[in-house]
Structures are given as structure tokens and as C-alpha cells.
């Protein structure tokens, strides 16, 4: 088995896994998108290795494999930054929800006391 078929097989597995996760709603499309794109790109480069050689000539990288590594690094960096931003967003949302819960809890407590205080008997209204 050549390295190309190995790479292609790996990518097919990745795409299949992502598709499965998307289908079962365990991952959202906005996160899967970049992985899908990456897998497809690797499949293309795996099928047509001349493409990587041609592209490295265009951008002036001497060894094509270094271009592939550099691109992989950039993609991973982009994913990490996207996830950091997403986590920050989630934290902000959690914070807002926590504040809202505290405010509601106090309001509920007030209402419960209001119902009890006018008469001590539990009224069924």
C-alpha cells in the first residue's frame, strides 16, 4: 500500500466520522466545516501529488512536504483560535445565565414570601 492510498483512506475515515457526528447532532456544522475542508484538501493532494509540488514551486517552498506541514500548522492554529473564541463566547453566555438565575431565584423567594405573609394559612389561590 502506497502512502497516498494510506492518506486517502485516512481522510475518508475522517470525513465519514465527521459526517456521522453531524448526522447524530453531536457536532455542529460550524465546527465540522473546517475539518471537512481539510480532509477534502488532503484527499486532493493525495490523489494528485503533483499539485503539492506545483504549489510549493509557486509560493517558493523548496520541499513540497514542508508546504504541506506549514499549511497543516496554519489550519490547526485557525481551529484553536476559533475554539478559544467560542469558549469565551460560551463563558459570557454562562455568566449571563448565572446572573439571570440569581435574579430569578431572589424574585421567586420574594413571591413565595408574599404569598405566605398576608395570612399564615396556605391559601390555594
Amino acid at each position: 500500500m502506497s502512502a497516498y492510498t494510506f492518506a486517502i483512506a485516512l481522510c475518508v475515515i475522517v470525513v465519514g466520522l465527521l459526517f456521522h457526528l453531524l448526522r447524530t447532532r453531536r457536532i455542529r456544522e460550524k465546527y465540522a466545516g473546517i475539518w471537512m475542508a481539510l480532509a477534502v484538501a488532503v484527499v486532493i493532494v493525495g490523489l494528485f501529488p503533483e499539485l503539492a509540488i506545483w504549489l510549493s514551486g509557486v509560493v517558493g517552498v523548496q520541499t513540497p512536504v514542508n508546504l504541506v506541514f506549514a499549511m497543516a500548522f496554519v489550519v490547526l492554529l485557525a481551529v484553536c483560535i476559533q475554539l478559544s473564541a467560542e469558549v469565551s463566547n460560551l463563558e459570557e453566555e454562562t455568566r449571563t445565565l448565572a446572573e439571570e438565575i440569581a435574579l430569578l431565584r431572589l424574585e421567586v423567594k420574594d413571591l413565595a414570601e408574599c404569598r405566605q405573609s398576608p395570612s399564615d394559612r396556605p391559601s390555594p389561590d
Binding site: E99, I101, A102, L106
Partner: protein
């Protein structure tokens, strides 16, 4: 939204595991400001902070998780905004701030038509001092923030602050939870929104627990994080100010 507020001043005390000092602080506030409402924002404490506050007959906002001072204060400002309070005073739960000094803050707010009044530790009153790198970083912060706010501010990291209705409205929607966001960045946000910031000197009492650190490493970390907070706050795009009547 029903208006429960008869009196118009709300004292907000953010508290995180402050069961030792909180009860006395609330009782002192009640003595010094009999008409004020007291709201303790329990910032996910694991001790009896919430019970102590309830026993001292303060209103308690129990945050289910620890959000830091910024998160606690935004919850407090949201409460103040929705309940229709005209003014708030933020007070530390460790007994550092003298509740009697709240009058100085409110008087300054009236006489100088300020929206936010900071109780400053280094404005000639009291003998609170810090030394070394920490002092330099605080000096630098006050120089920059004085320029931003257009007034002389000597103590920008003070947690003793009075706010009026426009400031409450602003902070209910926009109060950062970042490190130092409750002090440095909130001042930048307020100044950017066109609010008048002023300060009065207040005497600080020694904290009931713990001394301010004088370790040079910690001071350096403080300086770097403070500068980062400042640079980011200053470079942030202006956010639209919420309009009264629209729920925050």
C-alpha cells in the same frame, strides 16, 4: 416591572467566602445608612456567606457559580436597574470601606454632578500606602485613566464606588468579568460613554483578613495584566449604550 424601591439607594456588596466579616459590614451599613437597601451578591461562596447575609437582613443574590467581582457587580447593577434604584454604592465585604464615607461619595456626586464617584485611597485622607513596583503600576494606571476620564484619579483600582442611574443602566448591560475589568475597564467604558467620573479621598481601614502583597513578582504580574487590560479596554470599539426602558 414593579417598583419595590421606596428609598433610592442600593448598597451592593459583592462577597465571596466572606462569612467572617460580612455580618458586621452589613450591620455597620444599616447604622450609617438607615434608609439604604442592602444587596449582597454571593459570588458562588462555599461557606455560610449567604446565610450570614440573610441573618443580617440583607437581600441576597446567590450566583450559582463563581463569576468574579465583575460578574457579581453586573448582577447587582442589573438588580438595581430593574428595581428602579437611583443610586448604588459598591462596598467591599472585608470591612475595608467605612460605610460612613458613603455620604462623602454621595455629596460629591451631587456637588460635582458626577455619574460615578470613586472612593480613593491615596487622595490625602488616611494612611493607606503601597510600595515599590506595585505603587509605580498604580501610578501609571492613574495617569492614563485620569487622561481618559478627563479628571484627576489617584486610585483606579478602588472597589468603593457610587453610581447614579445612567451609570447603573450602562453597567447593567456592560460590565466586564475580566481580571481588573471591574475597575480599570469599567472606568474606560464609563468615560467612553460620556459619564462624569470624579473621586473623593476616603480613609481605608485595615482589612480584617490578609495583607496586600508586596512581592515584586506579583507586582510585576499585576503590572503586565493591568497594562494588558488597559490597552485592550482603550482599543475596544465603542458599544452602543442601552436605552432606558429597554430591558438590560
Amino acid at each position: 416591572m414593579p417598583q419595590f424601591a421606596q428609598s433610592r439607594l442600593l448598597v451592593i456588596i459583592p462577597a465571596w467566602n466572606e462569612q467572617e466579616t460580612l455580618g458586621d459590614v452589613i450591620r455597620e451599613v444599616r447604622l450609617a445608612l438607615p434608609d439604604a437597601h442592602v444587596l449582597v451578591v454571593n459570588d458562588g461562596s462555599t461557606d455560610r456567606t449567604s446565610e450570614v447575609a440573610t441573618e443580617a437582613s440583607a437581600r441576597v443574590l446567590d450566583l450559582p457559580i463563581n463569576l468574579g467581582v465583575g460578574g457579581a457587580m453586573r448582577a447587582g447593577y442589573t438588580y438595581a436597574f430593574r428595581q428602579g434604584f437611583d443610586r448604588t454604592v459598591q462596598l467591599d465585604a472585608d470591612g475595608q470601606h467605612d460605610p460612613a464615607a458613603v455620604w462623602d461619595l454621595l455629596r460629591a456626586m451631587d456637588s460635582e454632578h458626577a455619574d460615578i464617584v470613586i472612593g480613593a485611597r491615596f487622595a490625602g485622607v488616611g494612611d493607606y500606602t503601597v510600595r515599590g513596583p506595585r505603587k509605580w503600576s498604580m501610578r501609571l494606571l492613574s495617569v492614563v485613566l485620569s487622561r481618559v476620564a478627563g479628571t484627576r484619579l489617584t486610585d483606579t483600582t478602588s472597589g468603593f464606588k457610587a453610581c447614579n442611574r445612567p451609570a447603573i443602566r450602562l453597567f447593567a448591560s456592560n460590565y466586564p468579568a475580566e481580571y481588573l475589568g471591574d475597575t480599570i475597564e469599567s472606568l474606560v467604558i464609563a468615560a467612553r460613554a460620556g459619564l462624569r467620573v470624579r473621586q473623593v479621598g476616603v480613609e481605608m481601614r485595615p482589612r480584617a483578613g490578609g495583607r496586600p502583597s508586596h512581592s515584586p513578582v506579583k507586582a510585576a504580574v499585576f503590572l503586565i495584566r493591568a497594562l494588558l487590560a488597559l490597552v485592550i479596554a482603550l482599543s475596544r470599539p465603542n458599544e452602543p449604550v442601552a436605552i432606558e426602558g429597554v430591558s438590560a
